[in-house]
């Protein structure tokens, strides 16, 4: 069975600073990988996904993520954080076609002015 670990429960960054959120997965083959964002009181919105091909994927709101097979990681990055990025971020893995997602525990991002 697959599993996902997000090692950082909370992260605080200053507005304008760069951001990296970590995600490690456990799965025997190459999984389908996703990052979702949840603003307070809202549902989950897809930021980006990786299925195959180029290991650096671009998403919405200026986010990108890099798949590293050797490290079983799919870290999320943004070069300059905006106050509106404050939210909770979830990494998820699926064995195929995004049908059966397993989520990490989430990372709550706070942005200092």
């Amino acid at each position: 069975a697959q599993s996902v670990t997000q090692p950082d429960i909370h992260i605080t960054v200053s507005e304008g600073a760069s951001l990296e959120l970590r995600c490690n997965y456990s799965y025997g083959a190459t999984p389908y990988l996703f990052w979702y964002v949840q603003s307070p009181g809202q549902g989950l919105q897809l930021l980006l996904k990786y299925f195959s091909g180029d290991t650096l994927v671009q998403g919405i709101k200026g986010f990108e993520a890099e798949f590293k097979r050797s490290q079983s990681s799919f870290n999320l990055r943004k070069p300059s954080v905006h106050w509106s990025d404050a939210a909770e971020y979830f990494c998820a893995v699926a064995p195929d076609a995004g049908n059966m997602l397993t989520f990490g525990g989430g990372t709550r991002l706070m942005v200092k002015p």
């Binding site: 997000q6 919105q45 995004g98 049908n99 989520f103």
Partner: protein, 112 residues
């Protein structure tokens, strides 16, 4: 994104009472899911459906049942609510063309 609505959005109930949460989608998606969200656990799958009357259990299905009599509606029932079922419940559906799940706004359930 996928026209998913959930009702009610908030509910407070008492231990031992039955509760039904409704998920409605307008995009004719075949797969639908119910998750619960608890701090530190992310989202955990309760049940899912792969078509009308076709459902299966997820990771945390004990104490929950589901039904899907129409493509657009997926119901989650707590037969006898317990305090451990206090949580935020999310419904999702899967869009085949993008191989992606899209989520509803959630239902906050409190069991006293």
């Amino acid at each position: 994104d996928a026209g998913i609505t959930q009702s009610p959005r908030h509910k407070v109930t008492e231990t031992g009472t039955p509760v039904t949460l409704r998920c409605h989608q307008t995009e004719n998606h075949r797969y639908m899911y119910w998750y619960r969200q608890d701090p530190g656990h992310g989202l955990r799958l309760i049940h899912y459906s792969y078509g009308v009357k076709d459902t299966d259990k997820g990771e945390v299905s004990d104490g929950y049942s589901v039904s899907r009599s129409k493509t657009e509606d997926f119901l989650l029932t707590l037969e006898s609510a317990t305090s451990s079922q206090t949580s935020v419940y999310f419904c999702a559906s899967h869009r085949d063309s993008t191989d992606t799940q899209y989520f509803g706004p959630g239902t906050r359930l409190t069991v006293l």
